[in-house]
Symmetry: C2
Subunit: 140 residues, 2 copies
């Protein structure tokens, strides 16, 4: 895990899921969890980075994405740099000038990565949802 | 998540699993995750508490279990108290005196809880192991 610094993104967004056990009203147990992907230099992709990538996709700008997340530009830039450096192919690229005035965009690889990671998170939610109902020691 | 304090147990034991992608040597991605159960007052059972319960089962003493984990007796007692208060039935009980000289033991409920939680953690590892190989965006 190393010495990763946590910034405000950690407080603003939930990086974990909690599924409330719903098959009975007798108790209020929740099963909670989080998953992320690590590369050679620590975190490669987690919920915070996923949200950042999606904001970049939306705004076409790291600065605007950072602002939307109450994150410093420096921090956002470092996260993007960390993702790009650990990925097989670039995930976020900056286009200079051109007819549409340039901007920062996600590559096809980036879009694929987002899609796969979101699918993984959904499967994880399903896993938690499925398991919580099986825990008889919480029920009886 | 609230204001849960983390003590040394957090540093001594890994509360998360990381599974290294093993189907290729081209990269070194790991999928990591952790799961825990929350009750009405925050954490009910996670890896740290699981280890504590197993040490209590081994040593028959909260004090010895705490020492084995480099944890203060106060902290260990608070964790046991938190588990007992949130459980349907007592998980850890203290027997006074008697032929075997008393001591702290896990109830049948406690043993069942440990077994189920370990099974859940194993299933979670299997889930991570299964998913990491499917992430084609990490492979190509």
């Amino acid at each position: 895990m190393g010495k990763r610094k946590k910034e405000s993104v950690k407080n603003q967004y939930n990086h974990e899921f909690c599924i409330i056990k719903s098959d009975t009203n007798k108790n209020n147990y929740k099963i909670c969890g989080k998953i992320w992907i690590e590369g050679e230099n620590g975190t490669f992709l987690g919920i915070g980075r996923l949200i950042l990538l999606k904001k970049i996709q939306k705004y076409g700008s790291i600065l605007k994405a950072a602002k939307a997340m109450n994150m410093s530009y420096k921090k956002a830039w470092e996260l993007v740099d960390s993702i790009n450096k650990q990925a097989k192919k670039p995930i976020v690229i900056t286009k200079k000038g051109g007819r549409q005035g340039g901007g920062t965009v996600l590559t096809e690889e980036g879009k694929k990565l987002i899609k796969e990671f979101e699918k993984l998170q959904q499967k994880f939610k399903n896993f938690l949802n499925n398991e919580i109902t099986k825990l008889s020691s919480l029920r009886d």
